[in-house]
């Protein structure tokens, strides 16, 4: 067992599961989506991205790309949230919530691809 692999996989899968947790629920309902969960998703995704730095293989490049996509999506979602609450000062609306959740949905997709790639790598190593 390789500790590095464990940590690496842990963060990638945690990023996926947290992302799912935030994404799951009624799209326009702010009560179904927790801000702390979004914060955790962003932090974990950032960690997963940095962990992928410096891997020069083709698969490593793909993993890095998917993580970067997820991070960009999630940060856009958090910027939307900040904008709605602090700049427009309208409070969280159903439309804004739907935007945030759909952005996190995109990140969720990217995270799924990441995990699939990770599983492919693991399967290939078996052979």
């Amino acid at each position: 067992m390789n500790l590095e692999k464990v940590i690496f996989s842990f963060f990638m899968i945690l990023a996926l599961t947290l992302n799912f947790g935030f994404f799951y629920g009624d799209v326009g309902n702010p009560d179904h989506h927790n801000i702390y969960e979004l914060f955790a998703v962003i932090v974990i995704n950032l960690v997963a991205t940095v962990l992928k730095f410096g891997d020069r293989s083709q698969l490593g490049a793909m993993l890095l790309a998917t993580s970067l996509v997820a991070v960009v999506q999630l940060i856009s979602a958090s910027i939307v949230w900040t904008f709605v609450v602090h700049v427009q000062e309208t409070g969280m609306t159903a439309t804004a919530m739907a935007t945030i959740v759909s952005l996190s949905g995109g990140a969720f997709l990217a995270n799924i691809i990441s995990v699939i790639l990770l599983m492919m790598e693991a399967a290939m190593l078996r052979h």
């Binding site: 914060f39 960690v47 730095f53 958090s78 602090h86």
Partner: protein
Amino acid sequence: MNMVTSIILRRMRTPFLLLIAVYSVAILGMVLIPGVDDQGNVWRMSFFHAFYFVSFTATTIGFGEIPYPLTDAQRLWALVTVYSTVISWFYALGKILSLIQDKAFKEAVAANKFKYDIKSLQQPFYLICGFGETGKAVVNSLTEEHYRVVVVEKNENNLNALNLDELKEYVPSIIGNASEPDILELAGIRHPMCQGVIAVTASDETNLKIAVSSKLLHPEIKVACRSEFKDIEENMRSFGTNHIVNPYESFADIFSMLVHSPSLHLIYDWLTGVPNTTLSDPIYINKGPWILCGYGRFGRELYKHLKAQNISTVVIDPKKSLKEEFDLDEDENRFIIGTGTDHKTLNQAGISSAAGLIAGSDNDSNNLSIIMTAVDINPHIFSIARQNKWNNHILYSSLEHQNIISSDASVNFLTMHPREIIARRIRAYFLTPLLENFLNIARQQDNEWSNITISRLSAVVGDSRPHVWSATINHSTAPAVSQALDYGRTIKITHLTQDPGDRKAKLRCVPLLLIRDNQEILLPDDDIEIKMGDELLFCGTYQVKDNMHWTLNVMRSLNYVMSFKDEPDSYIWRLYYRHKEKPKHRKNKQ
């Protein structure tokens, strides 16, 4: 991915992870700990405010407690935030700084830059392997003429001496062993603009390897090698190395020119030297016996030439085995065992009646000592010193200087610098290949021819060494002349040597050689007609080379020196003129 980015990303992984961890804990803490707003209500920072607070705290900007003054609980957490985030930032910055200082990283950056330099080379360039004394001389002489070169050198210290400011062109360089093919590949041996490889490392073996790899990796390019051993030379020749320079053989060759005719030696020296340097004076050698100290590779080559010229020679060498070998070949007993540094051996060799002395051992101090002793006994002797180490040149030149002063201002001292000789030969080979042909034919001429030629040369060149250039008459290198030839006009060499700025004046140059259909015409006359495919070799000043360029390339200039009218450049005007001047045009065609 790029090597440099990859190193940065890999090395920065830990600092980035640490920063993310510290930031997220700090932000989360600020969000969770309740504060009080200006009305005394419980107020919690949102993630946005917390991120803002932590960001300006971590970077030590410190805007203060905004938007509301912090409670003590928040201050406690702010303390934790300050210390943990600031320390993490310092750690990350330190990592970045140490990464920039890192040797491996610097090398990666340098390699990256070198790769980019090679890729972006648009002009023809030469690849020089080995930046020792010879390599330096070659680089200097090529960049002086604004040719681009790339240097591969094994020793980092040697490369540091590559003072970029002193060279006229930027020289990309890489540290690496040139006998490894991938280094050659990196240095652009397969680059379409690579014109030639010059292998001048100190080791013959390495030069051989470079020659082999060059011929395999890029068969069309020219390869020039330095070689000191006959068997390796044979090996190099066997797979088509274009030019092999053996410093000893080359010097022996120059020496025989000198003995044969001082003017011939002067012609060689003027034409192959670095342009714009001061002209050397002719060297006259008295007839008489010679003394040769040191019977190594260098001594043997010289002995061969002395023997060929029927000059009686006494050989001095400390090795007994050499004497036996020598006595086997020669009848007379003219081999003395000794170093030649003392009066006794030199007297025994007949120094007082000798015309010349060669100090040709592989030890610089011995050579200097031999000459000082010899000059002490016979102040009028002509001495030749073999210089082995370049950094001893101060000693040799001061010896030279003393000698000139002591004996009525005539030159009677010659130093053999291997690096100088090789650099000259290689420069001539790559830049003016016709010069070799010229010198070969010149060598077969008599003394009188050399005297006449040298006086012709000195009339045009002034007081510094001339430029030598060749002109090939074809559509790409001499478009104006070849077009005029297509029209059926008669162009003579005299037209090329007229000043395109003032056709009554002659350019100060000498046509040295004309090659036509594999025939070589030495010093062609002015009224020889030029034909397509002719190759001409000229010598003169750089300014003259430039002027002649106009005549060769620009129709207007050519017409001017040939006293024709200007021809219109554009198609419609040409049609108009053709229509207008039909009779005259026909006359020209005949």
